[in-house]
Amino acid sequence: MNLNYTDTQIQFREEVRAFLDTNLPEALSTKVRLDKTLTKAEHEQWHAILNDKGWLAGNWPVEYGGTGWDAINRHIFEDEMARAHAPRIVPFGIAMFGPVLQEFGSVEQKDYYLPKVLSGEHWWCQGYSEPGAGSDLASLKTRAERDGDDYIVNGQKTWTTLGQHANMIFCLVRTAKEGKPQEGISFLLIDMHSEGIKVRPIVLIDGEPEVNEVFFDNVRVPVANRVGEENKGWTYAKYLLTHERTNIAGIGFATAGLDSLKRIARNEMSKGKPLIKNPHFAAQLARIEIDLMAMTTTNLRVISQAAAGKAPGAESSMLKIKGSEIRQEINALTRSAVGCYAMPFVSEELERGSNQLPVGPEYARSVTGTYLNNRKLSIYGGSNEIQRTIISKTLLEL
């Protein structure tokens, strides 16, 4: 047992810190620190800065323009990014689509798409969930029927995060009705500007249009845009789900969130003293911090195994459950910490279009929105109920 990073890893961490210190624009880190929604241009700006350094694709092999980092270095990088309040790397192209294509795509597809992910020419979004297929993803109904060299796609996807910015979508579509539901699914790459695609924003309970519905009405997609074999899409999607899970615990976000909470609690007053000195508040905060300390090590234990070449299995379900719960507790306690200033409804959408004066301390403004928005953490990417079922089936064999 050795809980410390190696000298090389410490050196790497210093390098990341120095890079963020010089290259992370303050305008971006301020917005991230205050939980404000980044514009498309701001996301692209940060991606470009990282891409110039060669650090955009921490999870890609060097041959595809990635860093080739192992799981520990990826963790160090993600952790430092979150602590510095750097914008998160938009996951759909880099973390989700890239690894699937590298594993299952043709040489032509890899040569064509991967550089465009890095350059930002393609902004990908994920077309998985449907109105009737959430936790039970395999019951999806969007169908793709062969017509010569094309598929004709009809149906609807939903919860498409940042789909309003995307020009490409990777979709799971039904190409066969026979057999088990998982067996008739294919993985298609679709240009969002194709004729017959409509995108409708869905406003969430924090007032932000973060996700979308995407409608497909006789959309023509070349067969060449299929990844891998027909009817094998489920296998590729499952592969992607394990990749999605390497940073699933969100330790960096939790650590940064806890730091913010402490800062707020030092500023807020309770009975004439800083809130953080209030023993009942401090007890709640301490309880979360104790959980986070253990969680950080649980996360590193799983990551070390991954670095040693073992793909994380059901362990990542634990990371997802515990990680999302800790973040949600931090969000809830932060909401409590700002007291009555959690009450104003601060929609950034509204703020942009009005001359409404800011109310209360700046750090309070996004707190309720973030609390509400992060209820999604235990719903998306396989709800926590689904994760518990995976744990009980796979690890407990019940």
């Binding site: 919860w159 009975k271 007291g339 104003p344």
Partner: protein, 377 residues
């Protein structure tokens, strides 16, 4: 023991429920959330015409109720539809202070409150006061003909619609002393008041209130100078009952929506309500809501009684409601999944309004500490 409503209150509940069901819908609420006033003038007049505002005042004050169970009956119904009407502000807090401390001249205003033609706002909390009722740093300085007020009040709900603001200010004593707090009836157009209006996450509107050199004549004083704390505490107790009953109504509707959803939403070939994990969690939600109902009944039964028992129940009930409210809101969103995250679906407003209850009149931690002081330590 009898836990049934009286015939009068049963009639009030039935007619109010009908009125609110006829006048409120998800679309209506969504249009009100986007409106400049934050609530509907028509619904307000309708509530006044039905005598709902009057039900919150005693006969001596021109109403026909005003007891704890009148408040809980009305506010539970308001909660059931997620109503955004400022009854808490105009009637229970503002009207309550006038009823308990006002002079006969000031009490004339109660008539206009009860008939729906006047709005009030209760300007008490401050940026540093964090729910502590006696912590008032806004100052009232005596001057030849009256008082001069200075300071800041936070998140004053219904301030923009209000004809009068009830303002607390310190005329003597340390910043957190229960002695030396004076209450004032301040016309909204008084010089030196600055209101910054904004919408609330719960629906409705509020404003930050800045008082700069606000000159009031002596007749603006409500009750005796420096003696405002007991009035504040009583108004706060009644308002706590009201908001807790409203939370209970919100919980009931949220539970019904969630239970219905568990029956109709199918995944893996069956309604998700067939999964035992969700059944058990929903059973916990139901049990906790029954606890919340009992806590509201406890407070309603003590709010008109002796101070010590009343305040113990204020803190017990508000603490419990805060915790159960969070559980009900979070579990209902979780069990709905993605649809529970959307603004368009009915649950969004109800869950948000329920969560926001913990940010008014003291949160669950504040009332836990207060309960320890009052009843444990």
């Amino acid at each position: 023991m009898n836990f049934e409503l009286t015939d009068e209150r049963q009639m009030l509940q039935d007619s109010l429920r009908r009125f609110l069901n006829d006048n409120y819908s998800n679309e209506k609420i969504r249009s009100l959330l986007d409106s400049d006033t934050g609530h509907s003038v028509d619904i307000w007049s309708g509530l006044a015409e039905m005598g709902v505002i009057g039900a919150l005042f005693s006969e001596a004050d021109g109403g026909y109720g005003g007891a704890g169970f009148d408040l809980s009956t009305v506010f539970e119904e308001l909660g059931r539809v997620g109503a955004v009407d400022p009854l808490l502000d105009t009637a229970v807090l503002g009207g309550g202070v006038i009823a308990s401390a006002g002079s006969s001249t000031q009490k004339v205003l109660l008539e206009s409150i009860i008939d729906g033609s006047m709005h009030l706002a209760f300007a008490h909390g401050e940026p540093q006061s964090r729910y502590e009722l006696s912590r008032v740093s806004c100052t009232a300085r005596r001057e030849a003909n009256g008082f001069v007020l200075d300071g800041q009040k936070s998140v004053v709900v219904n301030a923009t619609a209000a004809d009068y603001l009830i303002v607390s200010a310190r005329s003597a004593g340390d910043v957190d002393s229960t002695q030396g707090i004076s209450l004032f009836l301040v016309p909204a157009n008084t010089d030196g008041l600055t209101l910054t209006d904004f919408p609330l996450a719960s629906g409705g509107r509020a404003a930050e209130l800045l008082l700069e050199n606000v000159r009031l004549d002596g007749s603006a004083l409500l009750g005796n100078e420096g003696d405002g704390f007991n009035t504040l505490e009583l108004a706060n107790a009644r308002a706590t009952l009201a908001i807790c009953a409203e939370a209970l109504g919100l919980m009931e509707t949220i539970r019904a929506l969630t239970t219905d959803y568990l029956k109709i939403r199918k995944q893996f070939g069956q309604p998700i309500g067939k999964f035992q994990v969700l059944q058990h969690r929903m059973a916990d939600v139901l049990t906790e809501i029954e606890q919340a109902r009992s806590a509201v009944i406890n407070l309603a039964g003590h709010v008109d009684g002796a101070r010590d028992a009343r305040e113990k129940h204020v803190s017990a009930t508000k603490n419990l409601i805060g915790l159960v409210g969070k559980l009900v809101a979070e579990e209902s969103i979780q069990m709905h999944g993605g649809i529970g995250m959307t603004e368009e679906y009915e649950l969004g407003h109800l869950a948000r309004r329920l969560v926001m209850v913990d940010h008014r009149l003291g949160d669950s931690m504040h009332h836990l500490e207060r309960f320890i002081d009052l009843a444990v330590a």
